[in-house]
């Protein structure tokens, strides 16, 4: 919103990612924008285009979070520019294109792979207002506005270019729940493969960033539950692999952040933190395993060497490292249990309680271990 007051008392510095068509690398340009009460990030970008640089390219259309075209990363977090007030962002704002898609120019990304995945799922635009009501009852457009924020925020999309992604999987879940003439078995078959519903690692960022308030992560868990149910009791749906080059209809998904997508914590939530912790502790424990083998190999050098090591191992600094190792083990173990539970469609309604229980019980275990080691 852009109210009429022209009392520009402060300016906000916008740092905007720029890239012309065909350029390989982006650079950043800075613009000072006079602040107006109620100004949105989209208002600011359009004022940059009107008053400072007519060459700035971006997508926008409806201006009320209904078309989904103005998705971008604002200070690292996926947002719709049209409903993001500048007033909430401080005096410096970093604006970058969505990740998980190739950049065409400036803030414009290639949505083709995203829409190819949606087309493959085949979810209709219209649904019944009340799924149980009369077939000729009122209808409504699907709530998903196809903005791609979820895909950009997903750490798995960042590293697995064959992953179907949260939006398409959530659409598949809609077809399963309310087919409307589509084939739920086909949607399930699409979800039932390594790079489908099973690939999700429960970072839950998709649901955190969804501007329509939807829960794609929950939908993925629902799909898994349905797939498990069919595996156990019913005929298994036909297995389908994506095209050989890992593309959903023929185009490479560019603009991925790679491992940076795992470790970039800006604007992220608890699910993402546990995802990062799970990966870091995994690496740490792997290192510990080999270190452990090296230490054991000291035994072959005779009792003197071993005694000297035991001396070192009794030092408080070494004990502190032991506590760190135990903490890593506990974090990794609890994260694994949580992912296994949620990933199998269990306890999905109590994600928050599960998280709190994990943190509290993990903390207690580590504390007990520390007391034991130092006593």
């Amino acid at each position: 919103m852009n109210t009429g007051s022209l009392t520009a008392r402060r300016t906000v510095r916008f740092r905007v990612a720029r890239r012309r068509r065909g350029e390989r690398e982006c650079h950043y340009d800075e613009f000072d924008v006079p602040y107006r009460p109620g100004m949105t990030v989209l208002d600011a970008l359009i004022s940059i285009r009107t008053d400072q640089d007519p060459g700035l390219t971006l997508r926008h259309s409806c201006r009320h979070a209904s078309c989904g075209t103005c998705g971008m990363r604002v200070n690292g977090r996926e947002r719709l520019a049209c409903v993001t007030p500048v007033g909430d962002l401080g005096d410096k704002v970093l604006v970058e294109p969505l990740s998980g898609a190739a950049v065409l120019s400036d803030l414009v990304v290639d949505m083709r792979p995203f829409y190819e995945a949606l087309e493959a799922v085949g979810r209709p635009q219209l649904r019944a207002v009340d799924g149980h009501g009369p077939p000729d009852g009122p209808v409504r457009l699907e709530d998903c506005i196809e903005c791609g924020l979820c895909t950009s925020a997903c750490p798995l999309v960042a590293t697995d270019r064959r992953y179907l992604g949260p939006a398409a999987l959530a659409a598949a879940e809609r077809v399963v729940r309310e087919p409307r003439g589509q084939d739920p078995a086909a949607a399930l078959a699409l979800a039932d493969q390594e790079h489908g519903a099973w690939r999700c690692h429960v970072a839950l960022e998709c649901s955190q960033v969804c501007p329509a308030g939807l829960d794609p992560a929950g939908a993925i868990m629902e799909l898994r539950r349905e797939l498990l149910r069919r595996r156990l009791g019913h005929k298994s749906p036909q297995h389908e692999e994506p095209a050989e080059d890992g593309r959903w209809g023929g185009r490479r998904r560019g603009g991925r952040r790679g491992v940076r997508g795992w470790l970039d914590p800006r604007g992220r939530h608890s699910g993402m933190w546990t995802f990062v912790a799970g990966r870091l502790t995994g690496l740490g424990l792997l290192c510990y395993l080999y270190l452990h083998l090296i230490v054991l190999s000291l035994l072959t050098r005779g009792p003197g060497t071993w005694d000297r090591f035991i001396e070192v191992a009794s030092h408080p600094a070494f004990l502190a490292l032991d506590v760190l190792m135990i903490a890593g083990l506990v974090v990794h173990g609890l994260h694994g249990v949580r992912v296994a539970l949620l990933g199998s469609g269990l306890l999905t309604g109590t994600r928050k309680a599960l998280m709190i229980t994990s943190v509290v019980s993990g903390g207690l275990v580590v504390l007990t271990a520390a007391l034991f080691l130092f006593s």
Binding site: N2, S66, P138
Partner: protein
């Protein structure tokens, strides 16, 4: 490069026109300064008019609306919430209009049914308990961006070339003839020259500025209006106040939101998107007279859109200007032989606008090709992204 028909403006009108001309087998290139649908088109309510809103005051526009309403449902299945609309009387004064309104609708071919207070509250329980009586009309709602995307996608399938982020900066003339359009390709950061056989100005509220680049004039009155979106889907049908069109007298659903609009004034600068401070309050207040919950619901967004109304300068709020469309041939009066302007109209009537403009294009080029858009089902909106060659076109 062979000169093509160049359409300026990637809104609903340009979309429908590119589709119409491509379907007639003509070579079309469309230039849009930003992303397609980033002007007026994307920002409207998402209302597929039955024509009821104009039945009493603007019969020509009302008749166009009901005809196009029927055609669009046929050629764009799956794009509309076909839940109908209601004209609701909330005061005795409103209710006095009932007879006239039903009669005017009948005269324009708009089917109606009168509903009692009890019947209408059963359909839409969030309506104000003050409702006296209501009339059903075949309104519907849509996604303001995705319907034009279906036109664009189908146009591209039939050979049209779309060039978003390409801003027209001038015309290259040979006497009375435009031989090419000079433009800036912002995505690539370079200037381009697009050879033109004929130019159609479909720039909506910006069409006056585009015509001026060719030394031509269009009597356009940019008329902004404010719309707001509140959280919550408070109704499934389009709710109109049963009185002459005014401010804040429409409430309609859009996914999980409700849209309330509009206000109306006139301006000279179509890029002016300021929202007069008192308009949001006024809309909420009036909207709440139809659906009380709207006045309490959290605000999601407020924005303005600029209508491209046709009328002489100096008109008042814009409410009295007709919503019908006009096609101008600039060969007469302005001395530009191959420039036409199509403007005015509504999102509901873009196909008819395109048909009229395309007929004129064909007449000027001496091409005999009938309009086929009323019978051609459009590709789904996803095809705009998955099938289009939008990004690959490079012009020297």
């Amino acid at each position: 490069m062979t000169p093509r028909i160049v359409i300026i403006g990637g809104g609903g009108t340009g979309a429908a026109l590119a589709h119409d001309l491509a379907l007639r087998g003509l070579a079309v290139t469309l230039l849009e300064r930003g992303e397609v649908t980033s002007g007026t088109t994307g920002r409207h309510h998402g209302l597929l008019h039955s024509g009821g809103r104009y039945a009493l005051t603007d019969q020509r526009s009302a008749t166009e609306c009901i005809q196009e309403n029927r055609i669009l449902r046929r050629i764009a299945p799956g794009s509309f919430e076909e839940n109908g609309g209601l004209f609701v009387a909330v005061t005795d004064e409103d209710a006095d209009h009932l007879g006239d309104f039903v009669g005017a609708c009948a005269a324009c071919g708009i089917p109606t049914k009168v509903l009692s207070r009890e019947a209408v509250l059963r359909l839409e329980p969030a309506l104000t308990p003050d409702v006296r009586v209501a009339v059903t009309v075949p309104d519907a709602t849509m996604d303001a961006m995705r319907l034009p995307l279906r036109f664009f996608a189908t146009a591209v399938r039939n050979g049209a070339v779309l060039r978003p982020f390409t801003e027209v900066v001038g015309f290259i003339r040979q006497g009375r003839w435009i031989s090419a359009v000079a433009a800036r390709d912002h995505a690539a950061g370079r200037d381009v020259v697009v050879p033109a056989l004929l130019v159609v100005n479909a720039a909506g509220p910006w069409s006056g500025q585009i015509a001026a680049l060719a030394g031509a004039r269009v009597p356009i009155r940019p008329s902004p209006g404010v719309l707001i979106a509140v959280r919550g889907r408070w109704c499934d049908r389009v709710l109109n106040r049963l009185h002459p069109p005014g401010d804040g007298d429409i409430v309609l659903p859009q996914r999980g939101l409700s849209i309330v609009g509009t206000t109306s004034w006139t301006t000279d600068n179509p890029d002016d998107t300021q929202i007069p401070a008192d308009h949001v309050e006024a809309i909420l207040r009036e909207g709440a007279r139809l659906v009380p919950a709207v006045g309490q619901a959290p605000l999601r967004a407020a924005w303005s859109a600029v209508r491209p109304l046709v009328g002489s300068s100096g008109a008042d709020s814009g409410r009295t200007l007709s919503r019908t469309f006009r096609c101008f041939d600039h060969a007469t009066g302005d001395g530009v032989d191959n420039l036409i302007t199509i403007t005015g109209g509504k999102a509901t009537t873009v196909r008819a606008m395109a048909a009229a403009a395309a007929d004129l294009v064909c007449a000027k080029l001496g091409v005999i090709a009938p309009c086929r858009t009323a019978e051609t089902v459009l590709l789904p909106h996803t095809a705009y992204y998955t099938k289009s060659a939008v990004r690959s076109e490079v012009v020297a």
